[in-house]
């Protein structure tokens, strides 16, 4: 299935966006997020951007104060996921213009809409920024 979840968490460990592609209960999510964030925050920048956690592999990348964490299956190409994160950030940046944490907070639903265009059933289905953003921008005009 590939991607199991996508999280955006700031460096205080506060969740800014969470999208799961398999169902977890609220408690499970909370526990998982806590554990993962603790693990990733403890790592320095020289270390790998990948962390194993239980049966997930977490690929994470930090942008300013915000961490993007993607939980994937074991046989996923970690480098590609790392670049997928970057593509996501670039896409948000194109839409918001100098995207920052606050943009995501203020437009949580838009960030989700973009993700919905990019990932379905845990698979990357769209990587063209134009294709990702068109539906979102059309929504704005309604």
């Amino acid at each position: 299935m590939g991607i199991r979840f996508i999280l955006m968490v700031n460096k205080q460990g506060q969740t800014r966006l969470a999208q799961y592609y398999e169902w977890l209960t609220l408690e499970e999510r909370r526990a998982l997020e806590g554990e993962i964030v603790r693990k990733c925050l403890a790592r320095n920048e020289q270390q790998c951007s990948f962390v194993e956690h239980r049966n997930y592999k977490i690929v994470y990348r930090r942008y300013a104060s915000l961490f993007f964490l993607v939980g994937v299956d074991n046989d996923e190409n970690e480098l590609a996921i790392l670049e997928f994160i970057h593509l996501l950030v670039e896409t948000m940046d194109r839409h918001f213009g100098n995207v920052c944490e606050l943009d995501i907070m203020l437009h949580l639903e838009k960030a989700h809409f973009m993700l919905e265009e990019m990932v379905m059933n845990g698979c990357i289905v769209e990587t063209s920024k134009a294709n990702i953003l068109t539906p979102v921008q059309l929504l704005e005009k309604t």
Binding site: S65, N98, L139, E140
Partner: protein
Amino acid sequence: MGSQGGFYQSKEFLDLVKSIGEARSKAEEDRIVLNEIETLKRRISEPDIPKRKMKEYIIRLVYIEMLGHDASFGYIHAVKMTHDDSLLVKRTGYLAVTLFLNEDHDLIILIVNTIQKDLKSDNYLVVCAALNAVCKLINEETIPAVLPQVMELLAHPKEAVRKKAIMALHRFYQKSPSSVSHLVSNFRKRLCDNDPGVMGATLCPLFELIARDVNSYKDLVISFVSILKQVAERRLSKAYDYHQMPAPFIQIKLLKILALLGSGDKQASENMYTVVGDIFRKCDSSSNIGNAVLYECICCVSSIYPNPKLLESAADVISRFLKSDSHNLKYMGIDALGRLIKISPEIAEQHQLAVIDCLEDPDDTLKRKTFELLYKMTKSTNVEVIVDRMIDYMISINDNHYKTEIASRCVELAEQFAPSNQWFIQTMNRVFEHAGDLVNIKVAHNLMRLIAEGFGEDDDNADTKLRSSAVESYLRILGEPKLPSVFLQVICWVLGEYGTADGMFSASDITGKLCDVAEAYSNDETVKAYATTALMKIYAFEIAAWRKVDMLPECQSLMEELLASHSTDLQQRAYELQAVIGLDAHAVACIMPSDASCEDIEVDRDLSFLNDYIQEAIEKGAQPYIPESERSGMLNISNFRNQDHHEASSHGLRFEAYELPKPAVQSRIPQTLIASTEIVPVPEPMYPRESYQTTMPSIPSDAGSAELKLRLEGVQKKWGRSTYTPATSTSNSTSQKTVNGTSQGDGASTVSSMRETYDSRKPQVEVSHEKQKLAASLFGGSSKTEKRPATGHKAAKASSHVVEKSHVPKSSMEVASEKAAPAQQPPDLLDLGEPTATSTALQLDPFKQLEGLLDATEVASAVNGAPAASRSPDIMALYADTAAGIHNKNDADLLSGLSNPSVTNMPGTTAMPQVTQSSSKGPNPKDSLEKDALVRQMGVNPSSQNPNLFKDLLG
């Protein structure tokens, strides 16, 4: 743009975001959210809420759940919102519902109707929104409700719809393959879609289909190859380019598919060689994404039928990865190496030092990956070093999940490659001592069997030595506090069987220890049971050897305690112990012969030896035996169990079939234990009665308990309880034999090789020397010592112009091999991946830079307003600047501005000069302007509590 169109935001919402954004602790955040829950509970059920307002409430609900609190009180409103006419409101409703509900939630049924309606909409965006929801909310039962419409949409004129329809079908396939099995041909059709987006999406379901059934898709090899070729030749629209790479994510998916299709298929693989070779050549190895594609090429090459040229390219890439400074690339390199050594094992050799560096790296991720590699390359020549390292690492970590995994790997490798039984036992002891409760119980059984059976039939002396050393080590280990239960079971069993066998230790030594164990782990009934049986064995051996038995007082009191135990199993063992002690030497030697745990047990299931006795009894007027089934008025045991079981487990109808009878567990001792605990749910009062009834020969399971009382000397075998489950124990002994055969085959290596590796484990003064040794023991014999300098040289040549890291005290060879990728950009976490980025920028932490900038501008603006901003076009500086510029006069306005929606544009105009002045800041100055206005409206500014909120993510 935040303030325009449907994306209206109220002050309340902005305040919420602001306070969450500025919360300094989880506790503070929780307080805010709990407050919010109270507010929303009140507000959301008010009548006539305008839909924009409602949309905002729903997003606030999303926040509540995202921050870990329950928002179920509002789910129904999200569901209602999906009915809305406005597209934005509807999509937000769908989004919220997919975030809140799982596919089995009761509310889903209310949405299916809406989805059905929306799938028929003329507006393709509505259709897309519904398809998104389909992918998340439709379960097996509701598939038929939407399937026909989804099928129609596969031919929709809009590519976005076709793409999502394909993914919906994919989802159905994942949920219930049978429900769409007749439709999978649609995936093939969509592969030829004109739109690359649809084609790219179709690769996802195809990948899964092919993974399940490769052979049905061999005909597509040519198509996939040709698509990949076109992608690599940049025939797709520029929109799919990412960092100058043509559609890399599609390339990767295609390579994954080819890897599956070409696996073990020479003909299919030959079609792929050219295109994969092309990609190897074309790929930009300086960008992350280029390396991601290269890595996927290696995976593909190592999966398909081998091609020497491609393997060579793969090996080149791997060595570049391993020599890189970037841990990410090293990680990928180690992983790739693990794939490639299956085909060309010799490749590992040239990278041995790099591998050892990774193994010793403090980075846990890298270390684990390296262990994975070592696991893959373990042979009988290097198993000792590798397992030793693994165990050391296992001891050092706390993560139980990984501990379990690595422990089972150690066991697996040790069982497979153990050079000697001695080593095996020592290794197992370490594993048990540190991860005993995490390993499979079977491992313990294997260990006991190995100690019992020893090397083989011929060398009794070696077996005795092995056992003595096991006993000795266990007596020592018993001194440790808190041993895992499984390990204690092994120890008790071994001490019982062989504790006194070599005469080194007296019975009172061993029994004393066993009593200590039973006392120290008095909560663990299994351990106590093992200890009691072990005690019985020791005493039995003593009696049989005509030695006088003096029961230790602590043993006496243990026995007395257990005689009254609540556990029938323990009680029975205690009674057996008591009975055995009272027997004479001859009887004891029969029922408990020493060192006979490996003997086959022949069970006379008809108990024919009792015939005379029965005959005699009947002649004296005793009642003949009535088989259980013919008895009335007496519950038989199995009924009893079933009832018990039913009451415990079922409250309604049972749908699943009854379990099959469990296959026999492999080892003997634990088996009897398991069997005895399982068979025992008979209520206690039955026990005496049963033992009298053993006169009736057809209840084999009673034989065990009857045995002691009846003194059935004619029974072939043996010590007490094994006869409890006669059928299985006989089958056990055969399986033991075969296992013994295999382990014998493995245990061929010599003691000298062991000594060699032990030496290499000793701490050496010179780091590199130790590493070389390690390398030699990992990667092969002494021949490698000559080879290593050669590789070192090669690397050194390649990197002669690289400045060596002076602060790392490593050997020159190592440094050379480490630094051999000179032009390589370290793909920093914050690396944009753009080749234009300068290396100096990469070295610095942009985050720190930003903070530095912030401070600088703040100080500057405090002193004299503006000029600091000119230093940098950075957004931080901009915000700091505008804040400094307007803050003073705005201080008062801000508050009033917040309550006044018309102010939205006003600060924007005031801010205009600054913003245009630094228009380099973003692609869209107008956007940033509005953003600026909005945040000021919120009363958040960069110098407030959480300046991070404003940081440009892309730096």
